[in-house]
């Protein structure tokens, strides 16, 4: 059992870390970075955890032992020593470096990221190193603070240095594959399998001259305007039709070379369109574009090649077009770690990026939050021909941008990451630079940026349900005796558990089943006048007034009546009953003189009467018993959480009736006692107010009558009606238990489902 608890505890712990945001290093660091854009969320994690743990721990640690162990294994040291402080300094430094502490790191292993495995391995190594070191060092010895401090400083510096280093080298292979120069193309223009694409806004320039064999692509074929939004990527179907018209086969030996009439935007756009179709694997851009070809004096022609349409069936790659929702998410998470799935790069002119200039068809100046400016033309050599800079220059440029981005709190990724280009165009530049694989933002959704947010309503319900479940578990495990789990599930004490747990926590009486009457001096007059009370009770009993309810109008005690339990109400959460005033005026007067008594009655257990284990539902009161006419025998007794008490004439008992209790009278005499509900003393004024409000307005609904004509509380009126529905259900239970329980738990599950998920769909 304790093993299962450990597993469940670990599981819940992990869920808590995940839900709370502790498994997002960026969030942890945003919490620690008080000087930056501080995110105090994690203080709420700690606060929530502490709240629960403090309240539960306060109660639990007062127990003699935990549920499944003989003793509490709780640290008892209270001294603060150098090891503690130093260890915490080192741990804090490590935490601040990477944003991982042990629990979240272990939980994050589930993501399968290599980074987490590396961190956990290093952490385990650190623990192991400590244990080796500690075994050799006498316990009294401590690491010299200066040594430790320099260790921290060195680590920080080392880490910072390595993080600040030059980005990894650009892959030469990628550049060769994706960028071809004029010489390369000129030597291959006749080869089969080569597809040269000439991109222009109109066919005019193409008709005048183009690279021999080049096929014309209109820019309008790869960028459409829809409404006010320009540059939308056509559908996969439209793009496929275009690729077929161009004779692109998608065969492995095919080589596509693209050039445009401008400095690169046109060709890049076609490249990205092909990429979205999954056909860019063999495509390359012509370095220098059409201008370069002409400047180099390469052959041109006006001849339009005869192109046989292909029947290529591309496999589109929609992931190449990032959705705006994804971009909005990335805008928040853009980071420079090896894990960063992407970073945001705004390749538009810097003036448009910083908002000083709007740009064509851009409704709002500025850039997407988190994007790094990297104007695509900066990648080009200066001079007339739009050639890409050499690799080393690009590397330096990217380093500069990275530093600039970092100063702005943003990071340009290295080549292991993908890049989302917020310009529709320049992605291909970056790609042929080998720096990254371009992904284009779909302009179609620019207008509807949806920031993905945690479903607050769902989480609220989840935490409420969690609180409820925790309360039920607390109530269930409170004390030594408990109901069977199945019965607890549907017991009334389950439904009031959260309220009762609140009352327990602020209760001024100790959490134990039998309480000390001396703590309630206001009850003394009852004990002192017990003979007066007894005499009135005897008269009532002899006149036959102490009896069971004949109808289903006493919800609170309904099941007792069949088991030999009878009562005469004096007062039940309201004014005393008229019949009680008539028949036992002195007792009523005594009860009236004690304001903390909210309910009182005479109760009787017939000989051989027996009521099994139950909890009273409401913890707002404690129970007072005063023996009046009792067998004075140990066979007439009550067990409260396993503690046995037998009534004696003139003796009183105070107990917490929300502990499991059962009673029996195995003698031949009836037992008559005075029975009262005494308000539970509560320290906190707010909770006390709540309790009094409930006593006044809610519990009174269970009032009922001694004689015809007295007031019956609303709850008991409803109970009378509901019980008529329950009768057929009880017959069902007798006829077919399986069907009955299926119906019962089905209804419970449906209620739970409705509670958790109803409305979530709408809110999401």
């Amino acid at each position: 059992m304790s093993g299962l608890v450990a597993f469940v505890s670990g599981l819940l712990f992990a869920l808590g870390l995940g839900v709370g945001g502790m498994t997002q290093p960026s969030k942890v660091l945003a919490f620690l970075d008080v000087a930056g854009d501080w995110d105090p969320s994690l203080a709420f994690v700690l606060g929530g955890a502490l709240l629960v743990y403090f309240l539960v721990g306060r109660v639990a640690l007062a127990w003699p032992r935990p549920l499944f162990d003989d003793t509490f294994h709780v640290p008892t040291r209270r001294d603060v020593d150098g090891r503690l402080v130093l260890g915490s300094v080192l741990f804090g430094a490590g935490w601040g470096l990477a944003g991982y502490c042990p629990g979240p790191a272990l939980v994050s292993l589930a993501s399968g990221r290599a980074t987490v495995f590396v961190f956990v391995a290093a952490m385990l190594a650190g623990m192991w190193i400590f244990q080796r070191w500690n075994a050799r060092t006498p316990a009294a010895a401590t690491l010299r603070p200066a040594t430790a401090a320099s260790l921290v400083a060195l680590s920080v510096l080392a880490g910072a240095q390595s993080g600040d280093g030059a980005p990894p080298g650009v892959s030469a292979g990628m550049r060769e594959q994706m960028l071809v120069d004029g010489g390369w193309l000129a030597s291959r223009v006749d080869q089969p399998g080569l597809v040269v694409l000439h991109v222009g806004k109109s066919r005019e320039a193409y008709d005048r001259a183009h690279v021999p064999g080049a096929r014309f692509v209109a820019f309008g074929g790869v960028a459409k305007s829809r409404g006010p939004i320009p540059n939308e990527m056509p559908s996969a179907g439209e793009l496929t039709a275009l690729a077929r018209r161009l004779g692109i086969t998608g065969e492995p030996d095919e080589r596509i070379v693209i050039y445009g009439e401008d400095e690169g935007l046109l060709a890049a756009r076609v490249f990205v369109a092909l990429d979205a179709l999954g056909l860019a694997g063999n495509a390359a851009l012509l370095d220098g574009q059409w201008a370069g070809w002409q400047a180099e004096g390469r052959p041109v022609t006006t001849e339009v090649p005869a192109v046989a349409a292909s029947s290529v069936a591309p496999r589109p790659r929609p992931e190449r077009i990032a959705s705006l929702a994804a971009v909005a998410d990335l805008a928040r998470r853009a980071t420079g770690s090896p894990d960063a799935p992407v970073a945001l790069v705004d390749a538009r002119p810097r003036a448009q990026c910083d908002g000083s200039e709007a740009g064509d068809g851009v409704p709002r100046p500025g850039h997407v939050a988190g994007a790094v400016s990297a104007f695509w033309k900066e990648d080009l050599q200066s001079g007339g021909v739009p050639r890409l800079r050499p690799a080393d220059e690009l590397r330096a440029l990217r380093g500069a941008r990275r530093r600039a981005g970092r100063r702005g709190g943003r990071v340009l990724p290295d080549r292991r990451a993908g890049v989302v280009h917020l310009s529709t165009t320049a992605g291909a530049h970056c790609a042929c630079d080998g720096a990254s694989r371009p992904v284009l933002v779909a302009p179609r959704r620019v207008r509807r940026i949806e920031v993905p947010s945690v479903n607050a309503a769902f989480l609220l319900k989840l935490s409420l349900s969690g609180t409820f479940v925790a309360s039920v578990l607390y109530v269930h495990f409170r004390g030594r005796e408990r109901l069977s789990f199945q019965r607890q599930l549907t017991d009334h004490s389950t439904f009031l558990a959260p309220l009762n747990v609140l009352l327990y926590f602020f209760s001024n009486v100790p959490a134990r089943p039998i309480l000390d009457v001396k703590d309630f001096p206001e009850l003394a007059p009852l004990r002192e006048n017990w003979t007066t009370i007894r005499d009135e009770a005897r008269r009532l009993y002899e006149a036959g007034h102490v009896r069971a309810s004949e109808r289903y109008d006493d919800l609170g005690f309904n099941s007792f009546f069949r088991k030999g339990w009878k009562r005469f109400y004096l007062k039940w959460y309201g004014a005393p009953l008229p019949s009680a005033r008539d028949l036992c005026p002195k007792t009523v007067e005594l009860v009236e003189s004690i304001p903390s008594i909210h309910g009182a009655m005479f109760t009787l257990i017939e000989p051989k009467g027996k009521v099994g284990g139950h909890r009273d539902p409401f913890a707002g009161s404690v129970r007072y018993h005063l023996g009046l006419i009792t067998p004075n025998h140990d066979d007439c007794c009550i067990w409260i959480d396993g503690e046995r008490y037998s009534w004696r004439d003139g003796e009183d008992l105070l107990f917490d009736e929300t502990y499991l209790h059962r009673f029996q009278n195995m003698t031949d005499q009836p037992r008559i006692i005075f029975f009262a509900d005494v308000e539970r003393p509560i320290g906190n004024p707010v909770v006390r107010g709540l309790n009094r409000w409930l006593i006044r307005h809610a519990v009174g609904l269970t009032a009922t009558k001694n004689v015809e004509g007295e007031k019956i509380g609303f709850a008991n009126k409803v109970f009378g009606v509901v019980y008529r529905i329950r009768l057929p259900l009880k017959r069902l239970k007798q006829a077919n238990r399986t069907a009955y329980y299926a119906l019962k738990y089905g209804a419970l599950a449906a209620a739970l489902y409705a509670l958790l998920f109803a409305g979530s769909g709408v809110l999401r």
Binding site: S9, L12, T23, S26, A49, V52, S88, W95, C101, L459
Partner: protein, 142 residues
């Protein structure tokens, strides 16, 4: 660039509190992750099974989180050299200081232990200083 999420964070914290309280109430144990994991590195003892089961629960919980809300497990924000450095510091530091965020921060403060309060204040401060140095003085990391 991190969003303020008091609600979900509080909910998550409550869950953590429930988990830690459960371990205390049922088994009388402290849900200190570094203590539990560190204990697993030592020679097997009577405590090994429950520790292993707790860690198994933690890992299983990670899988649940990953399958239900992959975005909840964020990427590392630093490169390998820093990760290794940080891991070594966290591992060594939590053992030397006998606790981490869970053991000191939740269970210790929850029991009003002065040691844990000092430890928590110390590692929070050290974390904040480290972040400050990295982000604002060196301009790296992030």
């Amino acid at each position: 660039m991190s969003d303020f999420t008091p609600l979900s964070s509080f909910a998550g914290g409550t869950l953590i509190g429930v988990a830690a309280a459960l371990l205390l109430v049922a088994n009388g144990r402290i849900a200190g992750i570094s203590g539990i994991v560190g204990g697993l590195l030592r020679k097997p003892s009577a405590d090994t099974p429950w520790r292993a089961l707790f860690v198994a629960g933690l890992l299983a919980g990670g899988l649940v989180v990953q399958s239900m809300r992959p975005a909840a497990i964020g990427p590392s924000v630093v490169g390998y050299p820093l990760l290794v450095t940080a891991g070594l510091l966290v591992g060594f530091g939590t053992q030397l200081g006998s606790g981490c965020t869970s053991g000191h921060g939740v269970c210790g403060i929850g029991r009003l232990s002065p040691r844990s309060m000092v430890a928590t204040a110390t590692f929070m401060l050290a974390g904040a200083v480290t972040t400050y140095v990295l982000r604002h003085l060196l301009g790296g990391g992030s």
